[in-house]
Symmetry: none
Subunit: 216 residues, 2 copies
DNA sequence: ACTATGAAAAGTGTTACATAAATCAAATGA
DNA sequence: TCATTTGATTTATGTAACACTTTTCATAGT
């Protein structure tokens, strides 16, 4: 005769571990990572899974209607932070065009203003990094191959802004365009087509380009 | 009777794919990554897979991710402006906390080296000044109305350099061209003609343009 | 009512596996 | 002879599978 089977457990609704209860709070997937970056990525993952960390960027994180999920919140991780060195100050004379119509010398009274390039170009040094452009997809607005971009990740990506976007694992610089037709990443070069950002697209906005520097 | 077995191949020394011939140039391991960070990490790995480069400013555009859907032909690649500590990170196979500090993080503690834009852009502080462009005569090389130019008076104006020239009392930015036909000030805009600098012209070269800055 | 027990559902790190790509040497062909 | 083809060999790479672990809930037992 059959002895009593333990009736504990059994199929029941709502049992089991809850989704999102892991240390990342979201689903995961496996990726192959080169050894030299394993430690760095682990550190980053630990950083962002640390809830009480005083993330400088909290609160200034862009919210975009890009079909992005809450992954937006974790902007904290990437980009090389190269804040301006606050020790060294170089003040430069700035001549307005009308003034230099004459022949002033840098030492004379025609100097209207002196400024520090760091102050002029970097407004939020903790959230600013630089990168170098390769490619010509933005040449119409003067961003050329080899130019250095100053990127501020604390600025909200708005319609019309030049943004750095990681789309399906590739970094691009494009103009963000939010139309009734959807959200687009628009090159400034007629040889390249605009890219429609679909709902299911895997996209992360890394920051807003505030300046482009060409060196001759 | 046994027919002839193909004798091609067979065990041999040194055959096969070489170690380090993958896109990362080093061994890899699998890691579990939260979905929200997959794109960012992919982008970062693509950026950093410029193996042989020790050039601080260089960066190569990633090739194809194998098996990955990389439909996006339209791209502008980037090179990072790599700070010194990142070079160390690449060259030294250490996993100390110091090295991980090269990994981008919003926390100030993780920034080892700060970049000074003044140092990057200005080489001779005493002889350098800024001015703001008016007009579009140099738009072909990305110098646009409103851009800020960094001008070094200590550099010698040579053929091909972008210079600030005062010609007959008027200040212009042009490319200096010294040909057998004479000395020319050449606009980078087809709507404007090159200007021949005659013997009797009243011309002073104010300096050589080293950088142009566009702000968005 | 309170605790203990065990099944269920999800998380996590690692291994395994199926191709893909790269490389070399023998075989083949010009 | 010398270049090309062929196929084995080796490493690379993305994903599936696995062996746990952890969390959660329903029921049993006290």
């Amino acid at each position: 005769m059959s002895h009593e089977i333990d009736k504990r457990g059994g199929l029941r609704q709502g049992s089991g571990r809850k989704k999102g209860s892991g240390k990342f709070g979201e689903p995961t997937r496996v990726m192959r990572i080169p050894h030299s970056k394993v430690t760095a990525i682990q550190a980053w993952l630990n950083l962002s899974s640390n809830k009480n960390s005083t993330d400088v960027l909290d609160g200034t994180v862009p919210k975009v209607g890009l079909g992005l999920d809450k992954s937006n919140k974790d902007f904290s991780g990437f980009g090389w932070y190269l804040p301006a060195n606050d020790v060294s100050f170089i003040e430069l004379p700035l001549y307005s065009h009308k003034v230099v119509a004459g022949f002033p010398s840098p030492a004379d009274d025609y100097v209207e203003e002196r400024l520090d390039l760091n102050e002029k170009l970097i407004h939020n040094k903790e959230a600013t990094f630089l990168l170098v452009v390769q490619g010509d997809s933005m040449q119409n607005i003067g961003i050329k191959d080899g130019d250095t971009l100053i990127v501020d990740r604390s600025l909200e990506p708005r319609d019309g802004k030049i943004v750095i976007a990681a789309l399906d694992g590739e970094l691009t610089v494009k103009r963000l365009s939010m139309k009734s037709t959807g959200t687009w990443l628009v090159p400034e070069n007629d040889d390249y087509p605009p890219i429609l950002v679909r709902e299911e697209s895997d996209i992360v906005i890394w920051g807003v380009v505030t300046s482009a520097i060409s060196q001759f």
